[in-house]
């Protein structure tokens, strides 16, 4: 029997989310492991100009494939909370 601790799933998911273009920073993930399947709850900080809907879709698609591949657990659903859409630092006009 092989079991994967929620801590491991959580860290794999958080790291995998950062592999998507446009995602960086403090991604945190919660994982609920129920036998052979897992449910993820991801908190995703996105910067202001990023298109939220498409980025979230890409992250979800990537996580569904990637966590299943890496953990061997079926990934049922990925809930994503977009956290602080903080604007990027405005560029200074003068140097």
């Amino acid at each position: 029997m092989t079991t994967v601790a929620p801590r491991a799933v959580r860290r794999i998911a958080a790291h995998a989310a950062r592999e998507v273009d446009g995602v960086g920073g403090d991604v945190t993930a919660e994982a609920t492991v129920d036998g052979e399947t897992t449910t993820l709850d991801v908190r995703l900080p996105l910067a202001y100009p990023a298109p939220i809907a498409s980025t979230v879709e890409r992250v979800r698609a990537h996580l569904l494939g990637r966590t299943a591949e890496l953990t061997g657990l079926g990934t049922r659903r990925v809930d994503i909370t977009v956290a602080l859409a903080r604007p990027e630092q405005p560029k200074r006009r003068v140097r």
Binding site: T2, V4, A5, R7, A8, R11, I12, L70, T71, G72
Partner: protein, 147 residues
């Protein structure tokens, strides 16, 4: 006395490599534990063995001159007369498929124990309790000090 006498008469009927008419060979738990620990570490993708507390203790032990890290860390075994069961706590590298890794670890551990001890391995349970991310290189920080 009667119990041992009974055992002796029963044993030859189910003779194996370890239990023979001329005597039995017993293998201590620690032997199986160490073999399992070494075999599991041989597999690429296994970063370490043991839970958080065991690994923290071994980090301290590593700093004591003359003390060696425990090979059997993260390995629990149950050894009978002819059979053995193994439970492993492992920490994997990020990027490996855990299902494939578990299969490789299981095969390696079973082969190593069966070849070396002659015990039949009935099960190897693997619990992946954490993942090592490329970012948390705590050990490179110490090795970087001296070049």
């Amino acid at each position: 006395m009667t119990a041992t006498a009974e055992k002796n008469t029963v044993a030859p009927a189910t003779e194996s490599a370890l239990v023979t008419k001329q005597g039995t060979t017993t293998i201590a738990d620690t032997v199986v534990q160490k073999i399992a620990g070494l075999a599991a570490r041989e597999v690429t993708g296994v970063y370490d063995l043991g839970g958080g507390a065991a690994r923290a203790l071994s980090a301290i032990r590593d700093r004591i001159p003359g003390a060696s890290a425990s090979v059997g860390q993260g390995v629990t075994v149950e050894v009978g007369e002819k059979q053995a069961a193994v439970d492993l706590q492992i920490l994997v590298e990020y990027g490996v498929a855990i299902a494939d890794l578990a299969r490789a670890v299981r095969r390696n551990v079973i082969t190593a124990i069966e070849q070396m001890t002659g015990l039949e391995v009935v099960e190897v349970n693997i619990n992946v309790n954490d993942v090592h991310l490329p970012g948390d290189d705590d050990e490179t920080a110490t090795s970087d000090r001296v070049r």
